[in-house]
């Protein structure tokens, strides 16, 4: 049994090493895919990750309004504020040009003396509310109440309405805050003058009603992977499942050549031979995974991409790789047993791998799929394995956390091998 097993391992290893084209497909193809797809999708993922609107801010106001808008926009998560250009020439005109040329999505111009103006208007309003309390305002300093403060916003014409809306509402929020703050200050001064009461300034004028937003997804995840964190495990899995093609081909070739017949006339069971074969393909899968992950860690940074962070649970990583490898080889055995010809196995193997990959979120990540597809994706073993990788890379999950995925992959492997066992037993006349 042991001798048979090792003889089989040896034989498969030699066959594998002689099949240069097969090796190239198994190793070079996924390496190229990882590199190309990661680079291609880098910007898409960045957009998903940050989703920030780039805004030019021309602040001509030296008072609190300008400062508050600047602070508010900076603190809001979805804006990227620029208030200085490299050549230090940020004016209303240059800002307009920048937006017109598409370099920025919008520009906000806060006019000179805006704070002073608001201060005056608020004071005036309070004075008319409580006549006689303040010294009358002299004629020449009288303000034009109809003028208002005109904050200008330039939009890139392609800017979406929803973006405009969010800028508008953000600005409205800041300005009304400022107005309230000023009114409060004036009333405070008034109280002090009239009743000698020191009014305590509230520390901030943050809103009483707040809103929190969250993406509701089935992944119970707010963490979205970056391009590297998605593409490296995704294409690694794709490559690992691609092994069904050479593996199924190998099984069929052996069967067609009559070698299986010869092997079956020999004492002892054929299982040892099959196990030897599977071990080699399993090892290939693990080498593939190691190589792809190494590319994520060491090669992708050379192309200006972020390096792949492996998390701290390397053992968990090994377990998910092993489980995925077992699922892939099991699937290969099933296809090799059921397909009747080499061509059929290649076509069916390739098509089913691509479909399972697409469903599993290899091409298009699950979290940006439509709801229905997200539900369907749960059926793909590549999805289970990919979620295992996400958990390890993004949440630093341990071996226990990924067990649900590991168990599903193991069941898939066992079912595949069971199917091929029974198929062989009942559909082929070989005892």
């Amino acid at each position: 049994m042991i001798l048979k097993f090792f003889a089989s391992v040896r034989k498969e290893a030699i066959l594998m090493l002689r099949d240069k084209a097969g090796l190239a497909i198994l190793f070079v193809m996924p390496m190229a895919l990882i590199l190309i797809m990661t680079l291609l999708q880098d910007n898409t993922f960045k957009a998903l990750e940050e989703n920030k609107i780039e805004i030019l801010l021309v602040n001509k106001d030296s008072g609190t309004l300008g400062k508050a808008i600047h602070k508010g926009l900076t603190e809001a998560d979805f804006f990227q504020i620029t208030d200085k250009l490299e050549d230090d020439t940020l004016t209303e005109k240059s800002a307009y040009k920048k937006v017109a040329s598409g370099a920025y999505q919008m520009a906000i111009v806060i006019p000179e003396g805006a704070t002073d103006y608001i201060q005056q208007v608020v004071t005036h309003k309070i004075n008319t509310q409580l006549p006689g309390l303040q010294e009358p305002v002299e004629e020449d300093t009288k303000i034009d109440l109809t003028k208002g403060v005109n904050v200008k916003i330039f939009f890139d014409p392609v800017t979406k309405n929803s973006f405009k809306q969010s800028v508008h509402s953000a600005l409205k929020e800041f300005t009304s805050k400022i107005e309230a703050e000023m009114a409060f200050n004036i009333y405070g001064k008034l109280f002090k003058d009239m009743f000698e009461i020191e009014v305590q300034q509230p520390e901030s004028f943050s809103s009483i009603i707040t809103f929190t937003e969250e993406y509701a997804t089935n992944l119970n995840s707010k963490i979205i992977p970056n391009s590297v964190q998605h593409n490296v495990p995704a294409w690694t899995l794709f490559a690992m499942f691609f092994i069904v093609i050479p593996l199924a081909g190998n099984i069929i070739k052996e069967r067609e050549s009559g070698n299986v017949l010869r092997l079956k006339t020999m004492p002892g069971s054929y299982t040892a031979v099959l196990l030897g074969k599977l071990s080699i393909y399993l090892i290939i899968c693990i080498i593939q995974a190691a190589l792809m992950i190494a590319i994520g860690v060491y090669i992708l940074p050379l192309f200006g991409l972020p390096s792949l962070m492996l998390g701290t649970n390397l053992f968990a990583l090994f377990i998910i790789v092993l489980a995925a490898a077992l699922a892939a080889t099991g699937f290969g055995v099933a296809i090799g047993s059921i397909a009747t010809s080499h061509d059929q196995a290649s076509i069916f193997g390739a098509v089913s791998t691509v479909i399972l990959a697409a469903l599993g979120g290899i091409w298009v990540p699950v979290f940006i799929m439509p709801e229905v597809m997200q539900q369907i994706s749960i059926l793909s073993p590549l999805n289970w394995a990919l979620n295992g990788f996400y958990d390890i890379f993004l949440r630093d999950s341990g071996t226990l956390d990924i067990m649900p995925y590991v168990i599903k992959l193991m069941i898939f492997c066992i079912v595949s091998i069971g199917v091929s066992y029974f198929y062989n037993k009942f559909n082929r006349s070989i005892s």
Partner: protein, 250 residues
């Protein structure tokens, strides 16, 4: 029990799944120890099917096979140790060398180490292939492949050797060395069961011949007996045509 021959086949029938006719129908034959038994018949007569059942590759639909007085299917593993099978199609890995193939199949029979290496060298030498020991099978000619195909089945010194058309499609030289080898093997005590389309070869080699047609044995006996029974015939080919007719087969 004791009146059974070394290989005793009792009324076996075989229908392949999905097929509508019997590939082998109610076939019986007996082979003594030390015999060279030739199974001759036209294409599709059921030779491969019969030999596959005898070497435990295929389960018969009905009937019994006894080898050395034990039921084949009750003792498959025991019997598999003492038989060797040379398949009709070349059953070797084309991408492996002659040596790698033979090492693999030797290991499969539980032979290893220098014993196996010596055997491989001995047989490759015998069959004139020693200078090709490290060449891949896919670079071999048909005759060379046939010879390696035979060696792969005898490394474990089987007591019974089954050969399905071992000399098909090869030149006279290859054929002669194979026939010569089978003679020698038989002299050392190996029982041989073989199929062929080559009448002259069978007439010279076999101690007993069964002529099979449409899944059943239609005549059986030593070459001389067969010639005597069909007294107008000069050679086995005439007997064969006399018995099986001139009609073409599928």
């Amino acid at each position: 029990m004791s009146n059974r021959s070394y290989i005793e086949v009792e009324n076996i029938s075989k229908i392949y799944p999905g097929a509508d006719i019997f590939a082998v129908k109610d076939l019986s034959l007996s082979i003594d120890k030390g015999e060279i038994y030739g199974l001759l018949g036209p294409n599709g007569a059921g030779k491969t099917t019969t030999i596959s059942i005898l070497c435990s590759l295929l389960a018969q639909t009905t009937g019994n096979v006894y080898i050395d007085s034990t039921d084949l299917y009750a003792n498959v593993n025991k019997i598999r140790k003492i038989i060797g099978v040379v398949p009709q199609d070349i059953a070797l890995y084309p991408k492996l060398t002659a040596k790698e193939n033979l090492m693999f199949f030797g290991n499969m029979y539980g032979i290893k180490g220098s014993l196996l290496k010596n055997k491989i060298h001995y047989y490759l030498e015998y069959f004139g292939l020693i200078n090709k020991i490290n060449k891949r099978i896919d670079t071999f000619s048909g005759g060379m492949k046939r010879r390696v195909n035979l060696i792969a089945s005898i490394l474990h010194k089987p007591e019974i050797l089954f050969l399905d058309e071992p000399t098909v499609g090869i030149d006279v030289q290859s054929r002669n060395v194979i026939i010569e080898f089978l003679h020698e093997l038989n002299k050392k005590g190996t029982t041989i069961v073989y199929t062929s389309h080559h009448m002259e070869e069978a007439q010279n080699l076999c101690s007993k011949i069964g002529i099979i047609d449409k899944g059943d044995i239609i005549a059986e006996g030593s070459p001389d007996q067969l010639l005597k029974k069909n007294c107008n015939c000069k050679n086995l080919e005439d007997v064969f045509l006399h018995l099986t007719g001139r009609q073409l087969r599928d």
